[in-house]
């Protein structure tokens, strides 16, 4: 552009204020010199120096000059804008002009405090001042846009975190869509027997909440459903949900389970996922007794009708006029608009096959902790009897800690719950079998309420603790079915070989397998270890960098149930705070397209990390709500047709010319 065309809005009246900040600035920068220098700059009508500009009298100066001298622009040279930009913008607004007619010069953190030579520091202050005066002439009035928020919310994941968050918000009167990909909600907690450290039964505390979800009129529960895509933005996410066919008409099914009885398969023939294949189920089944919804599901892979099309369909006969069975069901989709989303997609347990030395999948009596949870559970595959695959009841059990945790070859982090659930399982097994229990641990980590006490209690019960990692697991000679655990006891300083009937691997927690896909769907980031990244580890632990998307439970990192529930509550509260306000206020520093100058070349579209740019009638269009104002599209637009509020090319060019004194 030719200089002639850079006139901007002419020569507005500018007020300049230089802050002493006591001696913080004045000791190194000749404040008076800067003030008088500024006075000589084009457009400057008022130039004052004051001891503390951020003080009320200081701000009053600005307001008064705007009123009395009709200032149209304000420049304050003081501390970092990160401290007081908001303050002076407010003062500018209260003076009666647009708050964005203000610009701030940082002569403290980035000048007086970092330089010793007064002449140089003053020269620098002059340069920055000149740049600000140049720049502020081009400032435009800006408004913070308000976007109204859809009151509905969505919770993804029906584990304890999702259940708790959903109930909290539903009870606050918000409509909640709860999306769960399994046939029933409940998540991992539903598979636990007891919960540490209090040993109350998981089902007993979880089931009521599950049924409450079912009965709460504010909750739309979608099981066997997954989020397919997310469009829109905070306040107005359009979420498309894919429903996998259940082959059962949910509303028609009363959960009588007669169809299961009547199935042409006399007994279970297919591994029961809920019990980790420790027992078999039929093609038509209900995941577990307390399942919510109480609705059966048909396994398409297993069902004869699907495989041959020539099944007697005894199930249909018995279902009779309820007509709940529908082999014709197919995938369906729902799209709903929600103001906020809580991700509670949970975790997956570490697969011990990845560390073969422990013999999982090789020796029948090596179990994972989750498998043991089912074995000790009275409604589990063995009705709560700890019975080995070879039918024996174990007399010695080895529990190996930190499988897939605190290990550079698998996961470096501590999974945080393994120590405690190992103690819990040790207690339960001992209680049920009186077996000798050996815990092989690196450290026992028992922080938190009642944890250490629980550790002591289990220790007193005579459970053995061996400080050391098991190096090798191999079968005992003579086909006893037992295996030898070899480990170096780092306390005794010698290698121990302990034969056990049963090995339990305390597997760690890992991000869900599809965490990357989910991350992309919701446009959030993952931190180290692959768990979803919170906006700030301390001050914004349930928020993400994408406004309106919150995190609850183990999808953000390994957690026990109390922390998960607490965090679910926090996420619910954040989401409520957002949707209850009814609107979101946007920073105005967004990018915008000069439509008539845009050639529609599409250069900008893939650059936006927030997919804020779309092509409408052959031209780029930026959604100001999605735009976060990074300006990368502005820098990239090859025809200069994209601009950015408060960071207009002219404003920055003027700053450049301004700081270069002999320009």
């Amino acid at each position: 552009m030719k200089p002639a065309e850079r006139g901007g809005n002419g020569q507005p009246k500018i007020g300049v204020y230089v802050c002493h900040c006591g001696t913080n600035i004045a000791a190194t920068v000749d404040v008076e010199a800067v003030r008088s220098y500024a006075e000589g700059l084009p457009g400057v009508k008022v130039a004052r120096a004051y001891k503390y500009m951020c003080s009320d009298p200081g701000q009053e100066l600005i307001k008064e000059d705007i009123r009395a001298n009709g200032l149209e622009r304000v420049v304050v040279a003081s501390c970092s804008p990160n401290l007081h930009e908001a303050t002076f913008r407010r003062a500018t607004a209260e003076g009666g002009i647009n708050p964005y007619y203000f610009h701030m010069v940082n002569i403290r953190e980035q000048d007086s405090w970092v330089h010793a030579d007064m002449a140089a520091a003053t020269r620098k202050a002059n340069d920055l001042m000149r740049a600000a005066v140049h720049r502020v002439r081009f400032h435009k009035p800006l408004e913070r846009a308000r976007v109204s928020i859809s009151p509905a919310v969505m919770v993804v994941g029906g584990g304890i975190a999702g259940i708790h968050a959903a109930l909290t918000m539903a009870n606050a009167g918000k409509h909640v869509y709860l999306v769960e990909r399994e046939p029933s909600i409940g998540g991992h907690m539903a598979q636990f027997d007891k919960t540490f450290p209090t040993l109350d039964c998981a089902a007993c505390i979880l089931t009521p909440k599950m049924t409450e979800v079912r009965s709460n009129p504010n909750i739309t529960l979608w099981t066997m459903a997954e989020v397919d895509r997310v469009d829109g933005y905070v306040g107005a996410f359009r979420v498309t949900v894919r429903h996998k066919p259940r082959f059962i008409v949910e509303d028609a099914c009363v959960g009588c389970m007669e169809c299961i009885e009547a199935c042409v398969f006399q007994r279970g023939k297919f591994p029961d996922e809920f019990n980790f294949g420790l027992n078999m189920r039929k093609p038509v089944y209900i995941p577990f007794p307390q399942a919510v919804p109480q609705v059966v599901v048909i396994d398409q892979e297993a069902c004869i009708e699907f495989r041959t099309g020539r099944c007697k369909k005894t199930c249909v006969e018995v279902c009779a006029d309820r007509n709940a069975i529908d082999f014709t069901q197919t995938e369906t989709f729902d799209t709903v608009e929600v103001g906020a989303v809580i991700l509670a997609t949970g975790f997956k347990t570490f697969d011990p096959k990845r560390t073969p030395s422990y013999g999982y999948g090789v020796y029948p009596n090596v179990y994972t902790a989750m498998e043991l949870e089912r074995l000790v559970n009275s409604s589990g595959p063995t009705e709560g009897h700890v019975t080995l695959r070879d039918g024996r009841t174990p007399e010695t059990v080895g529990i190996l800690h930190c499988i897939g945790s605190r290990d550079v070859n698998t996961n470096e982090y501590c999974s945080r719950v393994c120590c405690m659930y190992s103690l819990k399982l040790a207690h339960l097994v001992k209680e049920k079998t009186g077996a000798e229990i050996y815990n092989f641990y690196i450290d026992i980590r028992a922080p938190g309420k009642g944890m250490e006490e629980f550790y002591n209690r289990v220790a007193e019960e005579g459970v053995h603790f061996i400080r050391g990692k098991v190096a090798d697991v191999y079968p005992e000679a003579g086909n006893t079915g037992r295996v030898i655990l070899q480990a170096e006891d780092t306390l005794l300083g010698r290698v121990r070989k302990i034969p056990v009937d049963m090995v339990v691997l305390a597997t760690g927690l890992e991000p869900q397998a599809d965490v990357e896909a989910v991350r992309r769907t919701f446009n959030i980031t993952c931190a180290g270890g692959g768990f979803f990244m919170e906006r700030h580890p301390k001050l914004a632990p349930v928020s993400t960098f994408t406004d309106g998307i919150f995190l609850a439970g183990a999808c953000q990192g390994p957690k026990d149930i109390p922390d998960t529930v607490a965090q679910a509550g926090a996420a619910a509260a954040e989401a409520l705070a957002l949707v209850d306000r009814g609107y979101v206020e946007m920073e105005p520093t967004t990018a915008y397209v000069m439509r008539e100058e845009c050639s529609g070349c599409k250069t900008c579209i893939p650059l936006c990390p927030y997919t804020a740019i779309t092509r409408v009638d052959g031209k780029a269009e930026i959604n100001p709500v999605l735009c976060k104002g990074c300006g990368t599209c502005v820098a990239a637009c090859p025809s200069g047709s994209i601009r950015q509020n408060l960071f207009e090319d002219e404003e920055i060019y003027e700053e450049i010319l301004g700081v270069l004194a002999h320009a």
Binding site: M1, K2, A4, E5, M594, E596, E597, C598, S599, G600, C601, K602, T603, I605, P606, L607, R615, G618, T632, A635, A636, C637, P638, S639, G640, S641, D649, Y653
Partner: protein, 326 residues
């Protein structure tokens, strides 16, 4: 002379393509001749500068000057015509932004003379004779105009009212501009007399460009078989279209070759190359330094590519000569 508006044409450092462009008005040129008095056209009419000097200042309606400023003589004529013309029009890429000859700004006079007269393979010049601004002849002198170190665009020598871009400007652009000027309804000074929008807008291939174009590297035209329908950028070719004014009728693209940017940038851009390199680098998929350098190696001549016609008119204007270059 009649009271028809007076028009002057002049060439500075140029190839004559701009004159050809005028001749390519074909039948139209007779209309132009009918509409104006051409009072000055070195290729056509009285060249005596004295006559032009004798004219009243501002007595010429419009002076169309093509070519960049390379010699003292050209600079002098630019100033003279500025004085005599109400409206001074920079005609063609060279006058507008320096044009291809401004690539010489990567060197200086000495380097160019050396290449042309001393180090040239077919030149036999044992005594190292160089052209001189003044050669003695019997106490008199045969003189040549001075040859500057730097090629300049017309508006770097004198103030310019309008620009007609292109290498060469196309007949429709010229006809349109002449009409505008004769209409008396003049656009603001400094206007480039073509649409202020990039080439892609009119490009027949735009729809074939993917929305999420990301390139591992760029291609050189001789490396690939160029598809005649697909966006050239999408084929990895460095097409300057997105950073170049439209109005040319996409001649090069219809010729199945990438745009090389002769119409210059839009009015919102100060440096065509700077802006476009920003856009192009953004398209690259490379993430780490090594991959980036590798990808950038596929642009063997960034300056010659991004400033093919605009080096003189760019923000930096010329190369800073260091002793190493001498």
């Amino acid at each position: 002379m009649s009271d028809k508006p007076k028009v002057a044409f002049y060439w500075c450092s140029s190839c004559g393509g701009c004159e050809e462009a005028v001749v390519d008005l074909a039948e139209k040129i007779l209309d132009v001749v009918a509409a104006v008095d051409i009072v000055f056209w070195p290729v056509a009419l009285d060249f005596k500068k004295a006559d032009v000097e004798a004219m009243e200042d501002g007595s010429i309606l419009a002076a169309f000057v093509n070519g960049s400023i390379r010699t003292t003589e050209q600079e002098e004529m630019a100033h003279l015509l500025r004085r005599k013309a109400k409206v001074l029009v920079a005609f063609g890429s060279c006058a507008h932004l320096g044009g291809i000859p401004a690539l010489a700004n990567l060197w200086d006079r000495e380097a160019i003379f050396r290449a042309v007269y001393l180090e040239n393979v077919s030149t036999d010049n044992p005594d190292g004779v160089l052209p001189s601004v003044s050669t003695p002849h019997n106490g008199d002198r045969v003189t040549l105009p001075g040859f500057y170190d730097t090629v300049r665009a017309l508006d770097q020598v004198t103030s310019v009212d309008y620009y007609i871009p292109g290498c060469a400007p196309t007949p429709n652009i010229i006809a349109g501009a002449v009409q505008t000027l004769l209409s008396g309804d003049l656009p603001p000074a400094g206007t480039v007399l073509t649409p202020d929008i990039a080439l892609c807008e009119e490009c027949p291939r735009l729809d074939t460009k993917p929305q999420d174009l990301s390139l591992e590297r760029f291609r050189r035209p001789h490396e690939i078989l160029i598809d005649e329908d697909t966006c050239l950028l999408a084929q990895g070719l460095l097409c300057m279209g997105p950073a170049t004014r439209t109005g040319c009728g996409q001649l090069c693209i219809n010729g199945n070759m990438p745009c090389t940017g002769c119409f210059g940038p839009t009015s919102k851009v100060r440096d065509q190359g700077g802006k476009y390199l920003s856009a192009l680098a953004s398209m690259l998929s490379a993430l780490d330094d090594e991959a980036i350098e590798k990808a950038l190696d596929s642009i063997p001549d960034p300056i010659g590519t991004f400033y093919r016609y605009g080096l003189a008119g760019s923000l930096l204007r010329r190369r800073k000569m260091t002793p190493v270059d001498a």
